[in-house]
Amino acid sequence: MSVLSKLEEALVCLKAGKVTLPYPAQAQPLPEKFRGRPIFDATKCIGCAGCANNCPAREILVVDLCQEVRILQYLGRRCTYCGRCAEVCPEKAITMSQEFENGTNAIHDLGQRLEIFMSTCQRCGRCFKEPSVLEQLKMKGYRFDDVQNERWIYRSRAFLEEEKTVDDIAIELD
C-alpha cells in the first residue's frame, strides 16, 4: 500500500538526521593520499625533465637557456592533479599536497618556476632514465619549450640552437 511505503521512506529519511557539513565555514579533514596541487622542490630537483615528459596535459615546460641553466616551468592551468609527475620523479622532489582550493583571478599564481644549474656531464645531464620503456616521445637532449607563450615545442636536439622557432607542431626527435 502506498501510504505504508511513504511512511517507510519517511522513516529512512528521519533516521538519518542532518548530514549537511559546515564547509567552508570549517575545513573538512582530507585523506592522506589526497591528490591536490603538486609542489615542486627546487633544492631536490636534478633537472631531468621526467615530470615534463610524463605529464599527460603537457603542463610542465622545459627550456635550456644555456649549457648550464635549465628552466622548468609548471603552469598549473590544465593540470589534472593525476600525480604522474610525483610518481616518476627520481629524486622525490614533487609532492602532491592537500591544497585543492586553487581558484584565483591571476593564473600565474599557480605557476611554479625552477631554475636549475645543470652541472656534470653536459650531454647526459639532460637524459632521463625512464621508469618503464613506455616513455613519452623520447625527448632527450636540449629542450626549447616556449615559456613566454606557454606552449610545448615537440622538439629536442643534441645541441643548443640559437633560434627557437615557435611554430613547430610536428614532432621532431633527434
Binding site: 511505503s5 517507510e8 599527460p56 620503456v133 607542431i169
Partner: protein, 558 residues
C-alpha cells in the same frame, strides 16, 4: 577453441571471400574480407549467427599500409567471443557499402566515419552530418593523418545554419534542449508533438565534442592516455581508463599481475555503486520526488569518501597504467571499505523495500519508455536497458576481464522493458556489486602492482576490450603504433548505442514522459561526444559585445 570454431564456421560459409584472419587468443577473432563482401558477411553474422552489433570503425592507415581500414565489430555473447570484420579500402576510393539496412544499429557509426575519416557509406538511408559542426568545410576530415591535431580550418563558416527536417503532418515542434534543466549536458531533441503525445523526434548532438581520439593519436603516449580516457565521462571514468589499458595490454599480449586485476575490479564496482545510486536519485528528481534524490545522494557519499581514500580523488581515480595499477589497498582501507559496504547495504535495502512498493513512483514509470527485445536487437541496446527488457547480456560474464572470472555474481534481468524495470535492475545491481567487492577483498593475494615492461610494445597490432560500464558495454579498439603512441583508438561508449533507441522509445508517449524515458537510459552525453573540437574562438576573430550577445539570446528564432 572458441575463436577457432567460429573461424571454421566462417571459412565453411565464406571461404574465398576471406583474405586473412588473426586469432590472437581464444576470445578474439579478426577477419579481413574483400570490400565487396563486407555487407554480405555482416548480414550473415548479425542475422544468422545472431551476434550483437558493437561498432563500426574507420581508420586512416595510409602512412603505414597505404589504405583506409574499416572494421565492423560484433560480439557473440553466449560464445564469449569478440569478432571484428575488417576490410581495406584504397586511398583514392574510400567507399564501402553501408550495412545500415541490414544492421540498423550501425546508423550513427557510419555517419561518424563519413564525417571524421571521409569514408563514404554507400546506400546509407540518412547521410546527414552527425559530428562535425555545420560550418566545417567539406573535404576536411579531422581524423585523417594529414590533418594536424590543432588545425583550425580557414574556410570555417560560422554563419552556416543547420537544416532541420520538416515535422510530419499535424505536429508542432517542441524543442527539448540544448539547454534544459533536466540534462546536465547539451542535447537537442526536436520533438514532433501532437497535443500531448510525441509522434517522433530529430536528435542533434555532439555539441561537446572534444578531440580526444585525435589528441591521443597525435601527441600523447600510451601511459598518458589513461588520464585522458577517464575524463571522457563525468561518472564512469574508471571504465574508460581500464578499457583502454586492457585493449593495449591485449594488443601487446601483456598480462597484468593478479593483485592489479583485483584492484581494478574493486574500483570498477565502486564506480558502479556510485553511478547507480546517483541515477536512482536523478530518476526520482525527474519525476519530482526530491526527497528520494537527496537520500540517494546521502547514502552514496561514503562511497565517494572511500574512493578518495584509495585513489586520492572522488571520481578521477587515475587508476591504471599499461601493465598494472597505481594505487594500493592497505589493510586499514580494507577494513574501512568493509564497514562502508555493510552500512550501505543496510540502508539501501530499506530504500529498495520502500520504493518497490511505492505506487506513486510506479504510476509515473510503468509502461513508459518501452524498449522490447526487438528494439534491443535492432538498435543494439546494451546495459540495464537491455537487461530490463529480458535480454541477458553482461560483459562481466560474457567477455570476462580483470578479475571477473574469479568471482561469482548474478546478472539481474527484468521483463517489463519500461522505466520501472530499469529502476529495479539498477537498484538490485547495487547488491551484486557489493557482493563482488567483498569477494575480491577476500580473494586478493599480496603481490606486485605493475608489470615490468622491458621491451617496446609491438607495432600495428589490434586490441579489443569490452568493459561493463554502469550504463552498458564500453568498447575500446586500439591499433598500436610507433613512438609509444597508438595509431588508432576508438571509444564506443554505451550511451552512443542507447541514444539511437531513444526516438523509438519516446514515440507515442506523452511529453511529460520524455524526460524520464531519456533519463532511464542513464545518458552520458560526454561519453558519446568524445571526438573533435577545435577551439573556434582562436580561429575566428569575432568578438561578441555584450549587447550583441544579449540581443542574440533574446531574439525570437523560428
Amino acid at each position: 577453441m572458441i575463436a577457432r570454431e567460429m573461424f571454421e564456421k566462417f571459412k565453411a560459409r565464406f571461404g574465398p571471400l576471406i583474405d586473412r584472419a588473426d586469432l590472437p587468443n581464444d576470445r578474439r577473432l579478426f577477419v579481413f574480407v574483400d570490400r565487396s563482401a563486407v555487407k554480405y558477411v555482416c548480414q550473415h553474422v548479425f542475422r544468422e549467427l545472431d551476434a550483437r552489433y558493437v561498432i563500426t570503425i574507420g581508420a586512416d592507415d595510409r602512412p603505414f599500409s597505404g589504405n583506409f581500414i574499416v572494421a565492423h565489430n560484433f560480439a557473440f555473447d553466449k560464445e564469449h567471443l569478440l569478432c571484428s570484420v575488417l576490410t581495406q579500402l584504397p586511398a583514392d576510393d574510400p567507399k564501402i557499402d553501408s550495412i545500415t539496412d541490414m544492421v540498423p544499429a550501425a546508423s550513427w557509426a557510419e555517419r561518424e566515419m563519413r564525417d571524421l575519416v571521409g569514408i563514404e557509406p554507400v546506400g546509407h538511408h540518412y547521410p546527414k552530418r552527425l559530428v562535425l559542426p555545420d560550418g566545417w568545410p567539406e573535404g576536411n576530415h579531422p581524423l585523417r593523418k594529414d590533418v594536424a591535431w590543432n588545425e583550425v580550418p580557414a574556410e570555417f563558416d560560422p554563419e552556416r545554419e543547420f537544416h532541420f527536417d520538416d515535422p510530419p503532418e499535424g505536429c508542432t515542434v517542441v524543442p527539448f534542449g540544448p539547454f534544459h534543466p533536466t540534462l546536465d549536458e547539451p542535447a537537442h531533441f526536436r520533438l514532433y508533438v501532437e497535443g500531448e503525445m510525441v509522434r517522433g523526434c530529430e536528435y542533434r548532438g555532439f555539441m561537446v565534442h572534444r578531440g580526444i581520439e585525435k589528441l591521443a593519436e597525435s601527441v600523447m603516449g600510451y601511459n598518458d592516455i589513461p588520464m585522458l580516457a577517464e575524463r571522457i565521462c563525468g561518472i564512469c571514468g574508471c571504465v574508460h581508463n581500464v578499457a583502454y589499458v586492457q585493449a593495449v595490454e591485449e594488443a601487446a599480449a601483456l598480462k597484468p599481475p593478479p593483485r592489479a586485476e583485483y584492484i581494478r575490479t574493486i574500483m570498477l564496482e565502486l564506480e558502479r555503486l556510485h553511478s547507480h545510486l546517483l541515477w536512482t536519485g536523478l530518476a526520482c528528481h525527474i519525476v519530482g520526488f526530491d526527497t528520494l534524490f537527496m537520500q540517494s545522494f546521502r547514502i552514496r557519499e561514503p562511497i565517494m569518501w572511500m574512493a578518495e581514500k584509495i585513489s586520492g580523488n572522488r571520481k578521477t581515480y587515475a587508476l591504471c597504467v599499461v601493465g598494472g595499477v597505481r594505487w594500493e589497498i592497505t589493510p586499514e582501507i580494507r577494513g574501512e571499505l568493509r564497514q562502508t559496504l555493510d552500512k550501505l547495504e543496510t540502508e539501501w535495502r530499506s530504500v529498495v523495500a520502500a520504493v518497490s512498493r511505492d505506487r506513486n513512483i510506479q504510476k509515473r514509470t510503468w509502461g513508459v519508455g518501452m524498449a522490447d527485445k526487438d528494439l534491443v536487437k535492432e538498435a543494439g541496446l546494451i546495459g540495464p536497458v537491455a537487461r530490463a527488457a529480458g535480454v541477458d547480456i553482461d560483459c562481466r560474464r560474457d567477455h570476462p576481464y580483470a578479475a571477473y572470472d574469479r568471482v561469482e555474481f548474478d546478472v539481474i534481468t527484468e521483463h517489463g522493458g519500461d522505466v520501472w524495470s530499469r529502476l529495479l535492475v539498477r537498484m538490485r545491481e547495487v547488491f551484486e556489486s557489493i557482493r563482488i567487492i567483498r569477494q575480491c577483498l577476500d580473494k586478493m593475494e599480496p603481490g606486485p602492482l605493475q608489470l615490468e615492461i622491458k621491451d617496446e610494445l609491438p607495432i600495428g597490432r589490434m586490441g579489443l576490450s569490452s568493459v561493463e560500464a554502469p550504463r552498458g558495454e564500453s568498447h575500446h579498439f586500439v591499433i598500436t603504433g610507433e613512438n609509444n603512441r597508438p595509431r588508432r583508438w576508438r571509444v564506443r561508449a554505451p550511451t552512443y548505442q542507447n541514444l539511437q533507441g531513444v526516438p523509438r522509445m519516446i514515440k507515442d508517449q506523452q511529453i511529460a514522459d520524455m524526460t524520464i524515458s531519456l533519463g532511464s537510459i542513464d545518458p552520458c552525453f560526454s561519453c558519446t561526444d568524445r571526438l573533435e573540437t577545435i577551439d573556434l574562438r582562436s580561429g575566428t576573430t569575432k568578438i561578441w559585445a555584450q549587447e550583441e550577445l544579449l540581443k542574440l539570446t533574446r531574439a525570437k528564432k523560428a
